[in-house]
């Protein structure tokens, strides 16, 4: 094959993938533009489209593909409308964060449903025989199906553009994205249009799923593998911009394809580098019109509050009791032989620290970091690399982990905190994905295997404890090095909590709280809001790095999965589950989440589904988290009317007298 035809083939391959991205990103972008909803479940709707088509086409044989191509997207559209009606709708008016959380829960649910119906492994989804042949055009052979994708995708994109710009439906949803109250005032039932828009975006994702499913195969991971690139495209092109989605989709498709062939090292990195570069130069994306998208949302983040439920003293006592219980667990475990509980608690402690770190930025500085696992993972790598190459001391490893992560947080914060809201979320996600993809590429990070077999020494300069050789006989039992690790971990986590609490109660923390209340006001009493947020981000990054470093040092390994975005999602879930803006709430949330995951996964196969459903219910009904649960129940209209005026009148007032009555 000549060079020219090789390049032409790459261009065509790029356009094929690009078309799939265009369809995905268009739906995502329309949903965001109209409803301010960041739909993480879009990838799963995409996968659902592929599986529906797979299920329809199989039994029907020859013409099945064509039936599926029409019916499956409609089904996905119906699913989308159902999701909007039942869940998304309840969160309009809240901060976009809650949509991220909600749709993250939906990802777990849909993905688990897919695997339970169609199994975990990838399955072939044959292209119809009519299209499954090469054609010779411009002097070389190329798959007719692929030409078909390009033509069909272009037609759909054009149709969508016409729908948005040339019809009444399009006019109303465009007007609604500008000012939904105004449209409502004009007597238009905008809610109905929201449902339709969500369904339409879902159907587009469904089409994209079918097209790609037949191009490659259908697999339960196909959703999670496209969702991040799709977000990158939407951000790159400009949030809410249809033109941006089209140009961005084709561009990313082409860039990815060329990178794979000509610069394999950059494959997986280049897209994120591009996104970061574009956002740094033009924060609104290539075709974005205003930064407003992230700023004008009317809802606030809902913080947890311990007040009104338990008095500060009660909470302090519970805290001491909790730490006390954690102190005796290893001894009990040794006596009862349930050593497994110690491993679980170690996991919980690490995640609690990670969630605590996130709370400093999410709960106090109002920064939605979607890529917080960047710090967790980098901390883990830094810690293991230090243990391998610099010093066997766990202290040195952790100091390095914290320092490296704090430095990266400073850099990321410097680039991204100027741009607010959704853009900050996307940039942090972009950086996390960049590092995730990067660790596969280098030898010193161990590539896809990671690094393992590292032993940590709990001391400095030869003075200290080597867990491998540590034994303390205790009657009939023997305490081993695991105990040292456990108590060290417990001490670090408790110490970090106390430090974080101190920071929050100091002048620094009081400024963060004022920023969370009103950024504008804080800057007009003389605070450099951006600088304070950046400092909070640095502290947070350092603590997350400490969590990752601890895990790696304790378990003696690190792997690329430490940097996977699912961790970022989970830690946000824990933080909100517990009640953000309270420090102890997210730690509690981590405990409940990790324990629930552990228990559920050992008894049922569909544990993700259960967690997903619970989480969706939580986001909708208990957004202030577990720590505020009693208050939330007390404030509920049903409960309030039952109990009468006594509680109702006092709701929200943190008067110790009232606490006792409740």
């Amino acid at each position: 094959m000549s060079v020219a035809s090789a390049v032409a083939e790459q261009v065509l391959n790029g356009l094929v993938v690009g078309m799939v991205y265009v369809l995905l990103a268009a739906g995502l972008s329309i949903i965001f533009g109209v409803m301010d909803v960041i739909n993480f479940a879009h990838g799963e709707l995409f996968a659902l489209g592929a599986y529906f088509a797979f299920a329809i086409a199989g039994p029907l044989g020859g013409a099945g593909f064509w039936v599926a191509l029409v019916v499956a997207p409609l089904l996905v559209g119906v699913v989308g409308m159902g999701i909007e009606r039942l869940t998304v709708k309840r969160l309009y008016g809240r901060d976009p964060l809650y949509h991220i959380l909600l749709t993250f829960g939906l990802v777990l649910i849909i993905n688990d449903l897919i695997t339970s119906v169609w199994g975990k492994s990838a399955q072939p989804f044959p292209v119809p025989s009519v299209l499954d042949q090469p054609v010779a055009l411009f002097g070389f052979n190329y798959s007719l199906y692929n030409y078909g994708i390009i033509v069909f995708g272009s037609a759909l994109a054009l149709g969508t553009w016409l729908l948005l710009n040339r019809t009444r439906f399009g006019m109303i949803i465009r007007a609604g994205s500008e000012d939904r109250e105004m449209v409502r005032t004009l007597g238009i039932n905008i809610d109905r249009y929201y449902t339709l828009t969500f369904g339409f975006g879902a159907a587009l994702a469904g089409v994209a799923g079918i097209v790609l499913g037949a191009y490659q195969n259908v697999s339960p991971t196909m959703g999670s593998s496209v969702i991040i690139p799709a977000f990158v495209i939407v951000v790159l092109g400009g949030l809410g911009s249809f033109r941006g989605a089209v140009v961005g989709g084709l561009f990313v498709g082409l860039v990815q394809t060329f990178a794979r062939t000509y610069t394999p090292f950059l494959e997986g990195l280049i897209v994120f580098l591009l996104m970061i570069a574009v956002l740094v130069v033009k924060p609104t994306g290539l075709f974005g019109t205003s930064v407003g998208a992230g700023d004008h949302h009317d809802g606030a983040l809902l913080h947890g509050s311990g007040g009104g439920v338990l008095s500060a003293e009660t909470r302090a006592k519970l805290g001491y009791a909790g730490v006390g219980a954690l102190l005796i667990v290893p001894l009990l475990a040794e006596v009862t032989g349930v050593t497994y509980s110690v491993t679980l608690l170690e996991d919980i402690l690490i995640w609690a620290l990670f969630a605590l770190s996130l709370d400093l930025v999410l709960g106090y500085a109002g920064l939605v970091s979607l890529g917080h696992t960047l710090f967790y993972g980098v901390g883990a790598y830094a810690s293991v690399l230090t243990l391998m190459h610099v010093s066997p001391s766990v202290f040195v490893a952790l100091v390095v982990a914290v320092a490296v992560c704090a430095a990266i947080a400073w850099g990321v914060g410097y680039l991204s905190i100027r741009v607010s809201g959704v853009f900050f979320a996307m940039i942090t996600l972009g950086f996390a994905e960049l590092f995730y993809n990067a660790v596969f590429k280098f030898d010193f990070t161990g590539g896809s295997d990671g690094l393992f077999g590292v032993d940590a020494f709990y001391g400095l300069a030869g003075l200290g404890i080597d867990p491998g050789e540590f034994t303390v006989p205790l009657g009939p039992f023997v305490l081993d090095g695991g105990v040292v690790q456990y108590y060290f971990l417990l001490a670090v986590v408790v110490g970090s909590y106390l430090l974080a609490r101190r920071l929050i109660r100091a002048p620094f923390g009081s400024v963060l709280q004022s920023i969370r209340e009103s950024e504008e006001r804080a800057s007009f009493i003389g605070y450099d809001v951006t600088a304070y947020k950046r400092r909070a981000f640095v502290v947070s990054g350092g603590l997350a790095g400490l969590a990752g470093g601890l895990f790696a040092a304790n378990n003696g390994y690190v792997a690329p999965s430490f940097l996977h975005w699912i961790n970022s999602g989970e830690v946000i879930v824990m933080t909100v589950l517990g009640g953000m803006g309270t420090l102890y709430g997210p730690m509690l949330g981590a405990g409940v989440f990790v324990a629930a995951e552990d228990v559920l996964s050992s008894y049922i196969d569909q544990w993700q589904l259960v967690i997903g459903v619970l989480f969706v219910l939580f986001v909708i009904f208990v957004p202030r988290g577990l720590v505020s649960l009693p208050q939330t129940v007390a404030d509920h209209p049903i409960f309030e009317s039952a109990v009468g005026d006594r509680v109702g009148e006092q709701a929200g007032v943190t008067d110790p007298e009232v606490d006792r009555h409740e």
């Binding site: 920071l503 100091a506 002048p507 209340e517």
Partner: protein, 254 residues
């Protein structure tokens, strides 16, 4: 003779082809109560935003206390003594009244904080800040309400808190953005009395479209029209200026 605390020279702000503020040169004398008035669209709000630092001018300079502050962001201007109040009360509603004022006092603390103080000491452990907070609460009539959450305050008290926060930053000059917008005559009077009571020893610049109010309280008035300064002088002089009468009362009311 002249000691302007705030001076703008050829201040101009263009939004695309629209010239919102056109070559405005202004001197506000130390200690005076100046008002900036003009009909809707005269460029009042844009001028206000150029003075606070919320917007950067296309051309021209803003000088405050003899220092060119044109390129400084809002918080830097506040730190130099240029405070502002908000049209819609903008307090930290989830915090207590005392904490609202304390935060402003903390920002204005003489000499700032050492890193240990800033990050590790309790924010309520600084006696000088606490005393300053108490003085401001006392002066604005909120001393008894310090422990109440700001969001349960009645409207009038919220207004009081708004002014108290400004006062706590210890400004040399306060920019007031239509502080009585949407108020009844009685509320308007109460608010202006409060400003007079609490901020009378500071230089004030009031942005306002209510001409009667402005006539009553100002030492001097600057009239903006279509982004330009149309007239400037005492209330009497301005009210008799034929050009002002034409611009302000022109059309139907003339």
């Amino acid at each position: 003779m002249s000691d302007p605390i705030l001076r703008t020279e050829n201040l101009t702000k263009e939004f695309g082809k629209l010239v919102a503020v056109d070559d405005v040169t202004l001197d506000v004398e130390r200690g005076e109560f100046r008002s900036l008035i003009g009909p809707n669209g005269a460029g009042k709000t844009t001028t206000f935003n150029l003075l606070t630092g919320a917007l950067r001018p296309t051309r021209g300079t803003v000088t405050f206390n003899g220092e060119n502050v044109t390129a400084l962001p809002p918080h830097e201007r506040v730190r130099r003594g240029l405070g502002r109040s908000f049209q819609i009360t903008n307090v930290f509603s989830g915090l207590t009244v005392r904490e609202n004022v304390r935060l402003a006092a903390q920002a204005a603390r003489e000499g700032g904080f050492t890193p240990v103080e800033e990050y590790l000491r309790r924010s309520d452990a600084f006696n000088d800040v606490n005393e300053h907070t108490d003085r401001v609460l006392d002066r604005s009539g909120l001393l008894g309400r310090g422990d109440e959450p700001a969001d349960v305050l009645a409207y009038g008290d919220k207004r009081r808190l708004e002014i108290a926060i400004v006062l706590a930053t210890d400004p040399d000059m306060v920019l007031l953005d239509e502080p009585t917008a949407g108020m009844s005559a009685e509320e308007t009077r109460a608010t202006m009395d409060l400003i007079d009571e609490v901020l009378s020893d500071r230089t004030l610049l009031l942005i306002e479209h209510d001409i009667d109010l402005v006539m009553r309280v100002s030492d001097r008035i600057t009239v903006l029209h279509r982004g330009e300064v149309l007239a400037e002088g005492t209330p009497e002089a301005v009210s008799e200026d034929p050009e002002v009468r034409e611009a302000y009362f022109g059309g139907v009311e003339a």
